[in-house]
């Protein structure tokens, strides 16, 4: 039967704690954004705005406030605004994060909050970078299931343990926060990068997949997993909490055990 544990029927009425949710505070912040508009100038510049924000606001809300009320030319990508689409990875106070998951009150608001595009990919305008090289690496690791056995009429079976084996790396939203936090990637952009390896990991350790060997071969490249220096920048940067460096190490081990 199902793994769901049956909870006892909850009480009809309970006593609630006194206060749930407090009042909303407002505060002033200074937002300092790295601007680059190639139609206007080849040089990037810093723009600063001081704005009043609320306690529940995120960096994305501050960027929106500027765009909607002060300077409509400020350009950045965003979509879902709650950390599941991966559009708005940027460097906030020197760290790669999603603007929609970074609450202003968690940052030091006494100093200007700096926002820059993620590093290592060509900047196209303001906070927008060219994502094509990133997706090219992703495509090269064959990020799709390849099963040699003919498909059964119903589903392929997989034990909960086998499913759990690659759970962590299924969480990736391809926001590029990890790859663009990696110093090895910054140098020349040749390294496959953590995100591609994470997505390879997701299939290599999927018991239903039969092409793990091919992916290991791809990542055995001189720009593959061996360029990882385990600086853990990627693990720190991942907005989904994926243990990226660990996944890379597991792929290295898999290549070695295959060779042995």
């Amino acid at each position: 039967m199902s793994t769901t544990t049956e909870a006892a029927e909850p009480a009809s009425t309970v006593d609630l704690p006194e206060s749930t949710g407090g009042g909303i505070t407002t505060f002033d912040i200074t937002l300092k954004v790295r601007r680059y508009i190639p139609e206007f100038s080849d040089e990037a510049r810093w723009d600063e705005w001081t704005i009043t924000m609320q306690g529940t606001d995120r960096v994305l809300d501050a960027l929106h406030k500027v765009k909607w009320e002060l300077d409509g030319s400020l350009s950045f990508r965003r979509s879902c605004a709650h950390g599941v689409c991966g559009s708005d990875a940027m460097r906030i106070n020197g760290r790669n994060r999603l603007a929609c998951k970074t609450l202003l009150k968690d940052l030091d608001t006494s100093e200007p909050i700096t926002v820059e595009p993620i590093k290592g990919l060509p900047v196209e305008k303001d906070l927008i970078v060219d994502m094509e090289p990133f997706f090219q690496s992703y495509r090269e690791i064959m990020p799709f299931m390849i099963a040699n056995s003919p498909a059964p009429s119903a589903e392929r079976y997989q034990s909960p343990e086998d499913r759990e084996r690659f759970d962590d790396t299924t969480k990736c939203i391809l926001c590029a926060a990890c790859t663009s936090s990696c110093p090895v990637f910054w140098t020349d952009g040749q390294y496959f990068g953590p995100a591609a390896i994470v997505n390879a990991h997701r299939f290599i350790f999927d018991s239903r997949d039969d092409a793990g060997d091919m992916r290991l071969e791809v990542l055995n490249d001189k720009e593959g997993v061996w360029r990882c220096r385990t600086t853990f920048n990627c693990t720190d940067a991942c907005p989904r909490g994926i243990e990226v460096t660990k996944a890379i190490q597991e792929v290295k081990t898999a290549i070695l055990t295959r060779a042995a």
């Binding site: 060509p122 090289p133 140098t187 490249d221 593959g224 360029r227």
Partner: protein, 164 residues
């Protein structure tokens, strides 16, 4: 209301559209030169690292701690050690592993920090030459070491070990 990026502010140059050339060539990887060299290098670094810990710490202990301690080290001490094939072999292994380990580490650093292929090539050439010279010279010294050194007058140097 203010307007930024007005057409007047734009220079008349036309920009190439982003992505019109697909992927920036800087990011294209050269033909996959897999082999398993990088893997072998990676494994070598780990294994040689472990071996070097043993080799170096035994070396340090024998030289600095055991017997008469640091005061005992002199020409004669070295001569005495290298009279023994075990220590000759020990130091030879230590030399080779340390040089290869160090040189490969430097190679990695060059790969990580040099941005242009030509810079990389130059730095690596210097590195390989340097490492090769040191390894060759060191090996020669270990095997051609002459414990009984005489000065120009044919007198035995102080602390030289000559068969009496």
């Amino acid at each position: 209301m203010s307007t930024t990026n007005t057409p007047a502010a734009f220079p008349a140059t036309s920009l190439e559209a982003p992505r019109s050339g697909r992927i920036d060539p800087k990011y294209l990887r050269s033909k996959t030169s897999s082999g398993s060299f990088e893997m072998a290098a990676w494994v070598f670094m780990r294994l040689s690292g472990i071996a070097l810990v043993v080799l170096i710490f035994v070396h340090l202990w024998v030289n600095l701690m055991s017997g008469g301690g640091i005061a005992q080290i002199d020409f004669g001490f070295v001569a005495g050690k290298w009279a023994n094939p075990v220590w000759q072999f020990w130091d030879l292994v230590m030399l080779w592993l340390a040089m290869l380990h160090g040189a490969n580490g430097m190679r990695t650093i060059i790969n990580d920090y040099a941005e242009k292929d030509s810079t990389r090539l130059w730095l690596k050439t210097i590195l390989v030459l340097g490492a090769a010279i040191i390894v060759v010279l060191g090996t020669l010294v270990i095997f051609t070491f002459e414990p009984c050194m005489l000065d120009a007058a044919g007198e035995q140097l102080p602390r030289a070990v000559c068969p009496s």
